[in-house]
Each structure stands twice: as structure tokens, then as C-alpha cells.
Symmetry: D3
């Protein structure tokens, strides 16, 4: 895969960070509380955060939101899920959501590959 | 909770079994294969079936399908998830899907209570 | 199937007719025009009405609306589609929309059976 | 309209209150905070609560959730919106969401009629 | 914000105008009537057009359509809604639709900023 | 229309082919079977494949998935549907799905134009 493709993830992360800053600057109490609630939902509790990240990923896939898929794929990799485990989660999303999920499956697989590649590049640089 | 309420689950399970039989009798190859695929998606593999049942439950909640919620709540209880763990999954679904999920959260909580109650009654009878 | 079940369709049709009358009585120009547009969309044109009823049915199934499914199953039967053809359309909806469509597949199959049964009863009476 | 129909709203309100109590009793911090956030979103602020109830109603209609529609129709009537104004909001929801919204338009109109009727009955009793 | 970003809105408006012309040229009676119905739904009536634009914006956000969000944000600004009022509408959409709406909240906030910036630039040129 | 625009379809087809290869290489039994099921759903059976492609197109439009729309528009053209017939299917999708479908109607019309243009260019070259 080319360097150009690899930056799709970087661009998403930069845009996400920039706009989250902008939204935080708006300082709307309800919106701020929602963002906190969203963050807290994935913290360790009766269910470990790792499991809840996987729940968030499948929810994002069946609701067909590529930005949410990108975010949760990265979180799931960081939480320690293997490719084989993530493919299993992709399959559940595909069966529940149907062929309309296929374009988002392509996106999820590409994001996973790009993120693993980024890690390999970082290791090579070190 | 009254005995009348308790039968909502029984009625759902009877209707589901009866119509699945009817659909199986139609003998459409594509539909039959889809049902197999659906069943297999929740078998133990790189992810345990127990984890995948929880994924199916959250997917059902954010897609707001009460029948699917009933089915997966029962599967999740049978797979050994505790109430505290299921509430955590409900919370992820609520945050991802928003207040439009609340009526389905009510439904999920009621189904969970009814199913636990059924088990208690069975124990009392034995 | 029992007589009690058979009246689910009758009740839906009576409710639909009663509320459509009530909505028509409200006399909101935009709403009235929308209802006209909706009716006209299924008239013979470059595509025959019969084909468009099948499109409406599949759209209703992937959008998971039981009332819309009931309406279009009846229209499709009246337009002359056979059970085998309708099962094919159900299968497309199932594959596109995924397992979340299954409860609506059950509903569609039951509605089709009830409507065919109603016709048989009418023939028996004549 | 019969007394029997009139109780559909009463039953919904009783069920909603009972299950909200049950959910509150579960005492899950995330879920409780979400319910607070949801309530606060409709309080007077830069936009009056009355306007935001109408926004909640249209959101509920295009997302096709009858329980949410019932809740927001009641809130909108209590906030002082007239029938003519609510029909206008229904029309926006219908145009944005399409004919798949029609069954929910029927439900919304019926709920509005039932709630107005309840008020008339209360006045007659006084 | 850079000039490059500012043209995202210009490109959307140019594409929208060009394709609406192309669709109008197709001259399909049903499609033309739908476009008229859509336009008329936001005209002053029992509810002022300004209020209905806000309803259209929230409907677009919970249905998660960026093009529709762009269109309605522009209409809402032109109708005279302030940023503070629009943030309130964004918050209702976020609470109703959940975290899956967040990417569209980012988009809506960016569009609002870009459109306000365009107005400032035009004033500076005059 | 410019050559640059014409390549949007080429890029989609290349990306789709590349990622489908990558997904096939993952070799997940469930995912592979789903892809087979999806392909088979559009083969000639009690309904001709041509009719089912049109069903798939309308389902893709009301579910608002541009990649799925692109795929099915191409399949529908290859299956022999005329522009006039496809406009009729677009109209059904628009009426069922509402104005939220309009951005996808623009996309579908542009894809259809681009694909017809590609065919004309190929004829001119021969």
C-alpha cells in the first residue's frame, strides 16, 4: 500500500482532534457532558474497557459510520484485540447488518491494515 | 410482576419458533443458508460465542429491534453474562444510539427481569 | 392458523383506513400532496405498477416497517406476484438488510399466508 | 373514539413510568447521567424548551419511534403548540423521512387526538 | 482556517446546483413534484419557515446526512438563527441520536464556521 | 462532464476490487459464505436476476449507501434497464425514503450518466 493511502488515517485523526477542540471551545454544557459520558462508557467497570471497545466497533459497523469505525478499530487494536478476533467481530456486524455493511467492512479492513502498517513503520524507524 | 407480563416472553418464543418452522418449510435455499450463517456467526471461534452474543445484543439495541433484543438477551443470560455486565452493554448501546434507544432499553431491562424470574420460578417448582 | 390470527390483517386495514380518513380530514395541503405522490409512484409508467409494488415491498423490508410490509404484501398479491416470486424478493431484502430483517421476514411470511387464507375462505363461501 | 383506544396512552405512560423507575433502581451511573442529559436538553436555554420539544418530536418521527413520538407529542401539547403547528411539524417529518414515516404519522395524529380528548374529558368532569 | 477548507462548501453548493439542474432536465413528473413539496414544506405557514428550517436541520443530523446538514445549516443561518441557538439544536440532535451523531456534529460545526467566515470575507471585500 | 469526474467510477471499481481481494485473502469462512450468498441472491430464479438487481438498487437508495448505489446502477445498466425505467425506480426510492434520499438521488443520476458516457467513449474508440 502506498504512503498516500496511509495518510487517510492520519488525516482523520488530525481532523477529529481539531474539530473536537473546536467543539470543546464552544463550551456548551450539554455537549461537553455528552462527550464525557461517551468517554466514560468505555472505561473498565463490570465489563472491561477492552470488551466495550469491541461492542462500540460492532455498533459503529451496523450503524454504518466510517469515522466511528476508524475510531473504534484503532481503540480495539490499542486494547489488544488480534486481527483474527476483529475479523470475528466484523463477521457478526456483517450478518446482523447485511450486505449494506460490505462497503464499511472494506473500510474497516483497510483501516486495520493501515494501522498495523503504521506500527510496523514505527518499529522499523526505531 | 404479574403472570400476565411473564408470558410476553413465552409468546415471543412460541411465535418465533412457529414462524421459523414455516420459513424453513418454504425451503428457499438462500434464506436457509442465511439462517445457517446467522447461527454459525455466534459459535465459538477466534472469539468465544459468549462474547459474540454480547456483540449481537448491542447491535440489536442500536438498530432498535425489540424481537432481536429479546432473542439476544436470552442468549446472553444462557451464555453466563451477569446483570451487571449486561447493564454495561446496555449503557454502551444507549450512548452510541442516543435517547431513541431508551424505549428499547426499557424493553431489554423488562425482558432480562422476566427471564430471570422464569428461572427462579422453575427452581421453586423443582 | 386460528381465526384470531387472521384478524391481525383486518385490524391493520381498518386502522389504516380510519387514520387515513382522519389525516385527510386535517386537510394539510403538503400532507395531502405527499399522499397523492405516494399513490402515483406505483401507477403504470416506464415501469409497470406491478414491478414498482415489489420495489416498495423490498424497500419496506430493509427499512423494517411492519405496517408498510403488510400494505405492500397485499398490493403485491393483488398485482399477481406468486409466492415463489415474493420469497425471492424477501431473500433480497434479507441479504441486503441482514439478520435484523428476520423478525420482519417472519411478519411478511405470516401476512402473505393470512392474505392467501382470506382469499381461500372467500372462495369457499361463494 | 372509544374509551378502549383512549387507554393506549394511559398504558404507555404507566409502562414508561414503571420501567423508568426500574432503570433508576439499577443505579448505573452512566445510564443515570444519560437520563439527566436527556431531560436537561429540553430545558429553556438559548432556545426555549418549547422549541426544543418540537425538535425532539420531528427527530422521533424521522427515526420512526412510536414511544418517542408519544412522549414528545404530549410534551409539545403541554408546551402550548397548537394542532395546526404540530401538523406543520408532522409534514416536515413526512417530507424528510418519506412514506416510511406514514404509519408513524398515523400514530402521531391518533396520539394527539387522544391527548386532546383526555383534556376535554377532564374539563367535563370538573 | 485555510482557503482550501473554505471551498468545501462552495464545491458542495456547485455540485448540488449542477445535479439539481440535471435532475430537473430528466423531467420526471413524480421527482419534480417531490422537489416542489420539499421546497414548500419550509415556507411560512402555521409555523414560520425559520422554525421549520431548524426542524429540517435536526432531522438531517439524527438521520446522519452531511449534505442535508450543509444545506440546512446554510438555510438556518440565512433565516437568522444565531450560533448559540444552533448549538442548542445540535445538542438535541446529539442526545436523541447518540455518539454516532458526533462525526456529523463535527461536520455541522465546521460548516457553520465556514459559512460565517465566508460572510466576514464578503464584508471585508465590500 | 470532465474526464476527472468520469474517473470517480473507475476509482470506486478499482478500490472495490482491491478490497474484495484483500477480504477474500483473510479467508474467514463466515464472511466468504456471506459474499457467496450475496452474489447468488441476484441470479436468475423464480424472479429473473434483472428484476432483483432493481430491487437491490432501490434497497441501496432507501438505506442511503452510495457505494451500494454505484454497484447496483452498473449492474442494472448491464442487465438492460433503460434510463426511463431506472428513473422510475429512483422515484420509488425517493418517495419511500424522503428528501433525505435526495443527495443519493444526485449520486445515482451522476453515476448513471458517467457509466453511459463510458460506454459511448468505448464505442467511439472502436
Amino acid at each position: 500500500m502506498s504512503t498516500t493511502q496511509s495518510t487517510r488515517l492520519d488525516e482523520f485523526q488530525a481532523y477529529r482532534a481539531r474539530m473536537n477542540d473546536r467543539i470543546s471551545q464552544i463550551d456548551h454544557l450539554g455537549i461537553k457532558r455528552f462527550f464525557n459520558l461517551d468517554t466514560n462508557a468505555y472505561h473498565d467497570a463490570a465489563l472491561p474497557g477492552k470488551t466495550k471497545e469491541l461492542l462500540g466497533l460492532v455498533a459503529s459497523m451496523v450503524l454504518r459510520c466510517n469515522d466511528c469505525i476508524d475510531y473504534h478499530v484503532l481503540q480495539c487494536v490499542d486494547a489488544g484485540w488480534s486481527d483474527a478476533e476483529l475479523y470475528e467481530a466484523f463477521n457478526v456486524a456483517l450478518v446482523v447488518g447485511g450486505s449494506i455493511v460490505i462497503p464499511h467492512l472494506r473500510h474497516a479492513v483497510e483501516t486495520l491494515d493501515l494501522y498495523r502498517l503504521n506500527h510496523l513503520k514505527e518499529l522499523a524507524v526505531e
